[in-house]
């Protein structure tokens, strides 16, 4: 699955490298956001870019998510490709109007005259004791909006390949990065040490340019008993739970939520006859609801049990109750059992 020499990279390094590759190849790529310039971002995803490409290609922005997205619209209209960072997904809401009303609809409302090739990157998800405002998973608020693509990688290889694909994509992409696994995959057992990325094949990240196509899911574990649909951090929780419980599940990493790889999903569920959907976000109206709705619409006569959902609870993310909130191994196990019953 690789091109050219590879290097072990964690997700941040992979994301950083994707920026570098694209800024080298395409001088219209500009990168900005809060703290992304001199310092290279609070998670260091843009470290070194200002030094290499200069202050007008990578710079700090005022603390105004609305202004960051709004100016990116103007830049895209000019012909640049802005890759902007929202420091935490929890802070994307002040930019929501520009994303929903402008970015998403520009190609449509101008009949293709003005397009919005931009990437809005943002770390999302919990598991880091970040409390209510550093833990959210707001992907469903974007999957409902026609005109944007929503992408969520689950490992360094995909993170780089998907980010490059997103930057090259002619449409705007919201790119949520599971911050819990920036430095290493997480099986959900918060009371046990985490395997570093360096021990994982998906951290062998090629140098230079390559893409992981948008709209294509990956079967990260083939299986026969049931299908698990997951993305981001939850891919790892799902895999671990399946393996710990000795279940022969097919685990699918969606990678792109919109447009969804419906073929891979349908094929798998028609084979296994059972489906579990996993999201970290609050349950009600989460993206898991769309997945469950689609699966039962399209595979109903193959289903032997209802599509179940493993999700975060319908509360804000409570600081001290991180591991009660987080959809971890037990919630997974119980749901797997239920789907298999």
């Amino acid at each position: 699955m690789t091109q050219g020499p590879t290097k072990t990279r964690n997700m941040i390094e992979a994301i950083n490298d994707a920026h570098r590759v694209m800024m080298e190849r395409d001088e219209t790529v500009v990168v900005y956001g809060e703290d992304v310039g001199y310092f290279g971002g609070v998670f260091r995803a843009t470290a070194g870019l200002q030094k290499q490409f200069g202050k007008t290609r990578c710079f700090d922005a005022p603390i105004s998510e609305g202004g960051i997205v709004g100016t990116a619209v103007g830049m895209a209209a000019y012909g640049l490709k802005p890759v902007i960072e929202i420091q935490f997904a929890d802070y994307i809401y002040p930019g929501y109007d520009q994303i929903v009303s402008e970015v998403a609809r520009m190609r449509y409302r101008t009949a293709g005259e003005w397009t919005m090739p931009m990437v809005i990157r943002s770390p999302y998800g919990g598991g880091i004791f970040g409390g209510q405002t550093h833990s959210q998973s707001p992907e469903a608020l974007f999957t409902h909006i026609a005109g944007i693509k929503t992408v969520i990688p689950s490992n360094p290889y995909d993170a780089k390949g998907l980010l490059i694909a997103a930057i090259e994509d002619p449409d705007p992409v919201v790119f949520f990065e599971p911050k819990r696994i920036y430095n290493g995959p997480f099986d959900g057992h918060h009371d046990r040490p985490v395997t570093p990325w360096s021990k994982r094949e998906e951290a062998e990240v090629p140098d230079g340019h390559y893409t992981v196509p948008l709209g294509k899911a990956a079967i990260v574990r083939p299986g026969e008993e049931l299908t698990v649909l997951a993305y981001g951090t939850m891919v790892h929780i799902a895999r671990a739970a399946v393996e710990e419980n000795g279940i022969d599940a097919e685990v699918i990493d969606l990678r792109t939520l919109v447009p969804l790889d419906i073929e891979t999903i349908e094929e798998s569920v028609k084979k296994t006859g059972r489906c579990l959907v996993v999201q970290e976000a609050t349950k009600t109206s989460g993206f898991g609801a769309e997945l469950a709705a689609l699966v039962q619409e399209r595979c109903f006569y193959h289903l032997e049990a209802p599509v179940e959902r493993v999700t975060g609870w319908d509360t804000p993310y409570p600081h001290a109750y991180e591991w009660i909130y987080f959809p971890g191994p037990l919630r997974m196990k119980n749901a797997l059992k239920k789907v298999l019953a």
């Binding site: 500009v30 619209v73 419906i262």
Partner: protein
């Protein structure tokens, strides 16, 4: 209600809710509005510190005096041909507005918005800038398109959402968009275009280009957060942008006091951000031209952004959905002391000896015929009531560059529905 403390020695607070001077039934009288004499305002150097423009944010830059003479340091000394072109463009806008308003009333489309009384602003701004500069307009800058020579027929086709509509029937009437004429897609959401204009200007600066941008906003919409984003980013990066506030004193039914105009002018906002600010007589085409010229020279020489408040009056309803007699006296527009921009420019040309009533009447007649002819052509391509069942697949295009499976499925379902509804294959 939380406990009310016993704080007997403290005075009772009171909420101030701004109220316009006149409501329906009142006799409007603008004699209290002080209109500075034309020619009075000083013209600072284009490289002046933003702070130095402070006096100009409460003053009013005016060039045309009551006798139709151009006076003072802001006189742009335009040649008669340019003046006549502006007059013609302004008149074209007014005729166009009248006909399209009527077309809406006749049921040919769903909606229309006039800019009556504000024609000088967009027309003179377009004239003052380079054709390659980019505008991020609101819905009352049809004058930009007219001045830049965009075909009236195409505007009308957009208004009718017909087969000639470059936006494929997807946008509300008057939400034009045309890249070639440097006219960015109008948004239904107020304010969003303001930081976009700044972003475009930043991009131009990043690329070492020489083109500048101009963003437009109404007095009411300045209250949106996007106004602040725009000013902040423009100031921080010294973006080569002109930010226009068209203060026509009304939002829909609420007056500019509800946007903060009781306490300070909109131009005054600028200086607080370190941006140059100008307050300009928006019914004086020469003052508008001169101010935009000043700001564009400033922007082009990397001296930073300018915010210009154009002081004017919305002479008619907010849109075809609005009847202003519900909230303001009927005769207000006529009493408005800054006059009619078309009449004032005409008087100037007449004063210069470059125009007369005959030529004026001839022009009016020509324009009437010209606009009617365009309308006829446009209507030959259909009006709104006839639309909506042709080229249905186009409705599913341009959501993305390529059509994903779910939209393809929906398109097919939609075609099947249309087939059933029409009883035949849709076009």
């Amino acid at each position: 209600m939380t406990e009310t403390p016993t704080r007997a020695n403290r005075p009772a607070l009171a909420l101030h809710v701004p109220e316009p001077a006149y409501r329906p039934g009142d006799a409007p009288d603008f004699s209290s509005i002080s209109v500075p004499a034309a020619g009075e305002a000083p013209r600072p150097d284009i490289a002046a510190e933003a702070e130095a423009t402070q006096p100009l944010t409460t003053h009013l830059v005016r060039v045309l005096d009551d006798e139709g003479r151009a006076v003072g340091p802001w006189d742009p000394r335009l040649d008669p041909d340019t003046l006549r072109k502006m007059l013609k463009d302004m008149k074209t806008v007014r005729v166009f507005d009248d006909r399209m308003y009527r077309a809406q009333r006749q049921g040919k489309t769903s909606f229309y918005m006039k800019c009556t009384g504000e024609e000088a602003i967009a027309v003179a701004a377009a004239t003052a800038m380079d054709p390659e500069d980019m505008h991020f307009p609101t819905y009352r800058q049809q004058g930009l398109l007219v001045a830049r020579g965009y075909p009236l027929k195409t505007m009308m086709c957009q208004i009718y959402s017909n087969a000639g509509d470059p936006l494929h029937g997807r946008q509300l009437p008057i939400m034009y968009s045309d890249k070639k004429h440097g006219f960015f897609s109008i948004s239904g959401n107020l304010g969003t275009q303001y930081p976009q204009a700044v972003g475009w200007a930043m991009a131009s600066a990043i690329r070492g280009d020489s083109r500048i941008a101009m963003g437009w906003i109404g007095d009411g919409a300045t209250a949106e957060g996007d106004f602040h984003s725009a000013l902040t980013f423009a100031a921080v990066y010294q973006a080569p942008v002109i930010l226009a506030v068209v203060n026509n004193q009304w939002a829909i039914s609420s007056f500019s006091g509800i946007a903060g105009a009781e306490q300070a002018t909109f131009a005054a906002r600028a200086v607080g951000y370190g941006i140059a600010g100008l307050r300009v007589d928006g019914n004086d085409a020469l003052a508008v031209y001169a101010a935009v010229r000043w700001a564009s020279e400033r922007a082009r020489s990397n001296k930073g952004p300018t915010l210009i408040e154009f002081f004017t009056y919305r002479a008619e309803g907010h849109s075809t959905s609005d009847d202003p007699t519900g909230y303001r006296p009927a005769g207000e527009a006529q009493k408005w002391p800054l006059g009619d921009p078309i009449a004032r420019l005409k008087a100037h040309l007449v004063a210069l000896g470059e125009w007369d009533d005959e030529r004026d009447a001839a022009l009016d007649k020509d324009l009437d015929a010209f606009v009617r002819a365009a309308q006829k052509e446009a209507e030959a391509m259909g009006t709104l009531p006839q639309q909506g069942f042709d080229n249905i697949p186009s409705m599913f295009e341009d959501v993305y560059a390529d059509t994903p499976w779910h939209l393809a499925e929906q398109r097919d379902a939609s075609m099947a529905e249309a087939r059933e509804f029409l009883g035949h294959e849709p076009k």
